[in-house]
Amino acid sequence: MNRPDRREFLQTGAGGFAFALAPEWLAPPPRASEPLAIGLVGAGRQGRAILGELATLEACRVAAVCDSDGSRLESGARRVQGAQSFASHREMLEKLPALQAVVVATPTHLHRAIVEDALAAKKHVFCEAPLASTVEDCKAIARAARGAGTLFQAGYQARSNPIYQLARSFVRSGVLKDLALLRAQNHKKTSWRTPGSTPERDKELNWHLDSALSLGLEGELGTHQLDAVHWFLGRYPVSVRGTGSIRCFQDGRAMPDTVALEFAFQDGVRLLYSATLANSYEGRFELFAGSNAAVKLAWTAGWMFKEADAPTQGWEVYANRQHFHNDEGITLIADATKLAAQGKLKEGVGLPHTPLYYALEDFVRSVAESKPVACSAADGARTTIVGILAHQAIAQKSEVAIDPALLEDE
């Protein structure tokens, strides 16, 4: 691996990103002459969070909310002034031709039909991730997006997150030196159930506990973290193995509530991943460990932990630090040098917006400025396919090879 000296690092590495990234992510979102008219399909938990973020973006307006469930539709529509309500996305597309973009936040296995219809109607599409629950659907979505003539952004949020952008340039500049190990986890105590008023409705709402429809913890949650790893490294694992079991919620479910996976990359580097619904300790993070330093990312914050023998970087004099038991983490803050000069370094800790906001803002900006999206359909499909194979590895209790041909564009 390259070992940039300090001058080179300051030009291309952390010193560079501390200055270079700030203007873009601190700038207010673009304001087109007319706000982008958006229709939201799926007003569940994620859909409602999306509505909250879209409301603060000046460059767009939510013109329609769509959900097949009456109470969810009402709850979603209540959050938006003047939005029309629809029980079906086809009705929405038919009755609102002025709609310019569609945000898809339905259960994963329902994405494909909605995406294909929206793209066929010449709408720009933001689709929550994972993109689909089968390889075939992933490929179909990628094909539809490629030939649509409108923009498609997959909802993997790390690529829009300023802290992750900062950390990625860091990792790719070689500051970690020899990459040894990757770790990631998503631990949160919850039954992951949604209450339903009838047994039928209960089954419908709890699709993520249904092995036939859901990609489980590793796919539905884990692929967001996998995508960060793929994006940072610029490559995909070649195999995956894992185990899953029910450790906490013996409530009739078949889907494991605890999983552990090992992804192998071509060069021998391993990503160790775990997810559990039994315990919340340390929540969700990704860790890139190299022989000079480790970078830990937790979505709204990030840190670098240096080895004692690692060279000192010039910008470290400005650094804000946090202690974690015996370790000292240097907080990753975009625009750190400038904030330090103003005596406001601590104010830069943490993101000023949610990771979801940045993903949606990127989408709206891409449409307004006809710029490439943060995460394309092809990139989103590749990460989703790796997640699908990870899900298979747990179900089959065996190692699954990840054929590079499967990840190629058709």
Binding site: L51, T190, P195, L351, T354
Partner: protein
Amino acid sequence: MILRLAAAAMGTRFELVLAPRDARDEVRLRAAGEAALERVEECDRRYSLFRSDSLVSLVNREACAREVRLDEEAYALFEVCLDAWRASDGAFDLTAGVRCQAPAAQTQQEPGTELDLASDRDDADGAWLRFGPPSRCLAPYRLDPERRTIRLLAPDASLDLGGVAKGFALDQAAAILRENGLGLALFHGGTSSVVALGAPPGSKGWSVRLAATGERLELCDAALSVSAPHGRTLERDGRSLGHIVDPACGASAPLGLSAAVSGPSATLCEVWSTALVVLAARGAHAPGLPTGYAARVSRASLSLPSPALAP
């Protein structure tokens, strides 16, 4: 059979007590309870002053300089708080932490945003307020009903929803429980704000004790909030100062005061329990509470006329 669920949010612990009939019912109740707690966590993410990515932090960063757009939920909440500011003659104020700073800030108030307290009073006996010299109080922020935006009206203003966010989260969470058919539950946030659904079998309500007075209440389909300056204090010049500040003068309300308000909405209970402490500190009589609310203000040396608390 009792099922207890909890979540850490807003710097405190929210706890929910449910009573499932059997193991099968427990699965259903746990799912509904978790949905309610997730709503609390969502409120924390949106309204916390201590999260850089919250909506309140966005407003505090940007709404002094420009109008910030809100979704309907946030707009409605800020509207309720502005109404309470008017109704309490400024005793309840989301910007209380910075309001004491400023004649300079007040001179920059935009035209048409002032509320003349003298002319807006509607008290029958005309004796319930004893403000200091200022007879005009300044609106903390302006809401645009057309554009659904908020604008802070002092250059250095910032909002702190504090207990109101807790009450709002409890209201939202209780609504989720009701939507899911739960009629029996007790839900509290940091023990200072509580919502009771239904009444345990054989009782008129959930038994709740007021720590300040030792009084026991039975709550049924109602919320209760208690505010007391001693709940959070800081030391200054060898003195303990409570966290409730009179927005009109910046003075900390005396320790030992406390106000309890019960009624249908935990949000309004939080609003009015804070306002009543401030009004009591001013030596003022309490204004008329919204219909359906009852309050009690207590201090050894102070007893304010107010409706009885128990329903």
